[in-house]
């Protein structure tokens, strides 16, 4: 099936190329490769919504194509090469593991622009990177979780021990502790971005350990089903997951890539595209906060909303001192704000979290 999708997408690309070659104005070709299926209702689903937004915005001036379920590694390089050969002008590679393939293919196709999500390597002038400050959303979810938990145990389904995930745990924990000094985090590493069976089992294990609020950094809705049965609450991840509102889903962190994708496509059309590194948060709208439902008390909704606005306005940074590392050593002094370099490489827990970061 994966191969079939690829063949279909690639042939769609070449057909798309063949027909307009006769026309005067070639439409701009924009390709996307996805790590999951567009029906995951999480990460890939949101990237594909943004792709559709690009199509809608530009109409006939742009043609898009995508390949889903592309494994991170050699397969990605092959798919990217195919896309570049088929005439793509701009290619978005939407997972961290596409970093090396993206740069390798970019070297061979200097006239094609590449945009790699959540990575940091821009080896060639035709590669840009972009990511979202998801930790800003996690701060708000942590604030709500700290208020809402009655057992004072918040469960956290983590995926892989990479900086992005550790940053999210820290951000959520700091803001849960801020409003509830007794709160504890229990973290389960699922070692997957997307495996509904494992995610559901992890959610059940956390509930059995007394957690009544669960946060997830994995992409499926399987934990929501478990939470609904257990009467616990959680938050939509990557996508709104509004079908589980008003509870167990009480709010959500939503990735909104559409404005960025439209702006970058426009830049290619105008000939103004250049290699950049974008890391946007709530302010520019790349991170959205899903509607807070009535399951959250009104005053908590108000304080959470105030935090959203303060972050959006740039008045508040979720990593503001005084903050210590887990071992008690000082990290940020009173009023000091974490720099992007430390955040980008974050590999330690803040003080108060129990357990070790896996290697």
């Amino acid at each position: 099936m994966k191969t079939l999708t690829k063949i279909m997408a690639v042939s769609a690309l070449s057909l798309g190329l063949a027909a307009p070659a006769l026309a005067q104005d070639d439409p701009t070709q924009v390709g996307f490769i996805y790590v999951g299926s567009i029906g995951d209702l999480g990460w890939t689903y949101e990237h594909d919504r943004a792709r559709l937004a690009v199509e809608e915005h530009f109409g006939d001036a742009v043609e898009t194509s995508y390949v889903e379920n592309v494994p991170e590694g050699a397969d990605a390089e092959r798919v990217l090469t195919q896309m570049a050969l088929s005439g793509a002008d701009l290619i978005f590679t939407t997972s961290f593991g596409y970093m090396d393939p993206t740069n390798a293919v970019a070297e061979r196709f200097p006239n094609v622009r590449f945009e790699h999500a959540t990575g940091y390597r821009r080896d060639h002038p035709n590669v840009s990177t972009y990511s979202a400050r998801f930790y800003e959303g996690r701060a708000v979810m942590g604030h709500i979780a700290g208020h809402m938990t009655e057992s004072n145990i918040v469960g956290y389904i983590a995926s892989f021990p990479i900086p992005e995930v550790i940053r999210g745990i820290n951000s959520a924990f700091i803001h849960a502790r801020e409003v509830n000094p007794d709160v504890e985090f229990r973290i389960v590493w699922a070692y997957t971005w997307f495996d509904p069976a494992v995610e559901a089992d992890a959610a059940q294990a956390l509930i059995d350990q007394g957690a009544d609020v669960i946060m997830q950094h994995t992409d499926s809705t399987a934990p929501m089903t478990v939470l609904a049965e257990a009467g616990a609450i959680g938050f939509g991840q990557a996508s709104d997951m509004y079908q589980f509102a008003p509870a167990p889903r009480v709010s959500a962190i939503i990735d909104d890539w559409a404005p960025y994708y439209i702006a970058r496509t426009q830049a290619v059309m105008d000939g103004t595209w250049e290699s950049t590194d974008t890391w946007d948060g709530i302010g520019p709208g790349m991170v959205g906060i899903g509607e807070m439902t009535d399951a959250i008390p009104e005053e908590v909704r108000a304080s959470a909303q105030a935090m959203v606005e303060a972050i959006a306005a740039g008045d508040y940074h979720p990593f503001t001192g005084p903050l210590n590392r887990q071992d008690g050593s000082a990290w940020l002094a009173e009023g000091e704000v974490a720099d992007d370099g430390t955040l980008a490489g974050m590999n330690f827990y803040v003080e108060g979290i129990t357990g070790d970061v896996p290697n």
């Binding site: 079939l4 029906g39 229990r186 559901a200 059940q204 294990a205």
Partner: protein
Amino acid sequence: MMGIDPITLIVALITVSTPVLLAAIGELVVEKTGVLNLGVEGMMITGAVMGFVVAVNTGSPTLGFLAGMASGMALSLIFGVLTQMLLSNQVATGLALTLFGLGLSALLGVGYPGSTPPPVSDPFPAAMAEIPVIGPILFGHSLIIYLSVLLVAAVWYVLGYTKVGLIIRAVGENHDAAHALGYKVIRIRLMAIMFGGACAGLGGAFLSVVRVQNWVDGMTAGAGWIALALVVFASWKPWRALLGAYLFGGVTALQLRLQAAGINIPVEILAMSPYVITIIVLVIMSSDKSRTALNAPAALGKVFHATG
């Protein structure tokens, strides 16, 4: 084991184990007739997608389970016709069946991820599940879980104590002798293969409709292969298959709870422990060659060609 509640652990391990157990008990019967079907994974995932699609569209989990069984059976019939009538190689055909099942399921499931299946009602009233200790363990499950245990008992009884069981075993031990006695070797094997397909399909449907309540490409994630390993682990004995499945499910459920309880064991070791333990047990089981050989059906994997 501080901080881990044994009751919720047992409840969780039973749920985690059931898809694997169903597939394993089906494969056990197939292998008892001397046929090695490596397509369990493919039949499970096809059962998972068909069970889910039918349950979502009809609103009836029962129809979903039946559809899962039927689709597993249909897939196994392809294997049966190829290996029993056209005498193709069982190992190669079984592997091809797994690949086919994975591809077919992805195709059939397009558009279904994220759909909500109908809720499955439990056979016992909720009040019974609230009895301390034994309530949640004995009375809190969905019907398929009780069915899986009954199925183990039935297979154990039929194989060991009935004429049908004797015939199945005769076909698996020496198909030429069984043929000489007038038993229809191919027909018996085909029926066993279809039974195995139905069990694997039901296991898959349980996974998608009850345990995860969602459909995702490749969601069985190797459960079919674990089922195959369990049959060897069980030395082709039904109750041992149940024990093995619960052991595997138990380690899976336990490792998540150890993490959730914050017990300081390296996470990487915990995450791979179910698979490591399965491998270790298999190595121990097969180190004693004479005993394994004694239990394995003598005609396992051999091609039967009726002569005369």
